[in-house]
């Protein structure tokens, strides 16, 4: 992963990278209506990061994806997840206090087969976004750290 790939691969990557990221965020946000959710959508966005890393090499990607910002995002995601669990402590830990209540994500639900409404779901939708943020940043940090270490190990044992 030291030098970058040919011109065709670089052109296609600049065109497609945005679409993959938008598709990943769509799967995260609509987690309570269609198959998907936090973990699956986070893995899709992390695969967009891996595509960037393979195409452009190590040095050019580090000006675009900084490891410090991704680490901060990951910690924020986990702390947000635990905070949303603590808010319902009136009844239980992890109580869904926003569903069917008319508040932020609380439209009343229609029973049976229906095209989904985005405003439903309660704390499930908020937790989906928090876990999606955490998985996205965790897989990005893993891929970036291992590629920098692989390049350093390869350079040290050349002579």
């Amino acid at each position: 992963m030291i030098e970058e790939m040919s011109r065709i691969v670089r052109t296609i990557t600049t065109l497609i990278y945005g679409f993959i990221a938008v598709y990943g965020f769509y799967v995260i946000i609509h987690g309570h209506l269609t198959p998907g959710g936090g973990f699956q959508g986070g893995a899709i966005v992390a695969s967009a990061f891996a595509l960037l890393l393979v195409t452009y090499g190590n040095k050019n990607t580090q000006s675009f994806l900084a490891k410090d910002i991704l680490s901060l995002l990951e910690s924020t995601g986990l702390v947000l997840f635990i905070t949303f669990a603590f808010f319902g402590l009136g009844a239980t830990f992890f109580y869904n206090f926003l569903s069917n209540s008319g508040g932020l994500f609380g439209s009343p639900a229609t029973i049976g087969v229906n095209p989904g409404d985005l405003n439903t779901g309660g704390t499930i939708t908020l937790m989906n976004m928090a876990v999606g943020l955490e998985v996205l940043a965790a897989l990005g940090v893993i891929v970036l750290t291992m590629s920098v270490a692989a390049e350093t190990i390869q350079k040290k044992e050349k002579p």
């Binding site: 209506l33 269609t34 198959p35 973990f39 049976g112 087969v113 229906n114 095209p115 989904g116 998985v135 897989l139 893993i142 291992m146 270490a149 692989a150 190990i153 040290k156 044992e157």
Partner: protein
């Protein structure tokens, strides 16, 4: 008896994984064997919750009056897949550090060298 074929596929996956763990000496091949065993276990969890002629447990645009598959094993499999990712990442990182310190990835030679 031929209807039990998913369980036989699980046994084949786990058997291949255990064969790789016992008889191969390279560290990367051992990591692939551990991944094979985890994939076989996830497949076994999902095939335990199937009902004949049923659809996925989602209410958005589902056909009317059809039974649904059991949703609990699918939730447990999600957790198991993420734990498998974490384990594989740590095994490969330890393999990279071992290669840097010993110069080889063969478990017989690493056992003999002892820094």
């Amino acid at each position: 008896m031929i209807g039990n074929f998913p369980f036989v596929a699980v046994v084949i996956l786990i058997g291949l994984g255990i064969y790789t763990l016992i008889f191969k000496k390279n560290l990367i091949k051992i990591a692939i064997g551990i991944t094979l065993i985890e994939n076989g276990t996830n497949l076994f969890l999902i095939t335990l919750g199937y009902r004949k002629g049923a659809i996925a447990p989602i209410y958005t645009q589902a056909p009317e009056g059809v039974k649904m598959v059991l949703p609990t094993p699918q939730a447990l499999t999600l957790t198991s897949i993420v734990i498998g990712v974490a384990t594989t990442a740590l095994i490969l990182s330890i393999a990279m550090i071992l290669y840097q310190k010993y110069g080889t990835l063969n478990t017989d030679e690493i056992r003999r060298l002892r820094g």
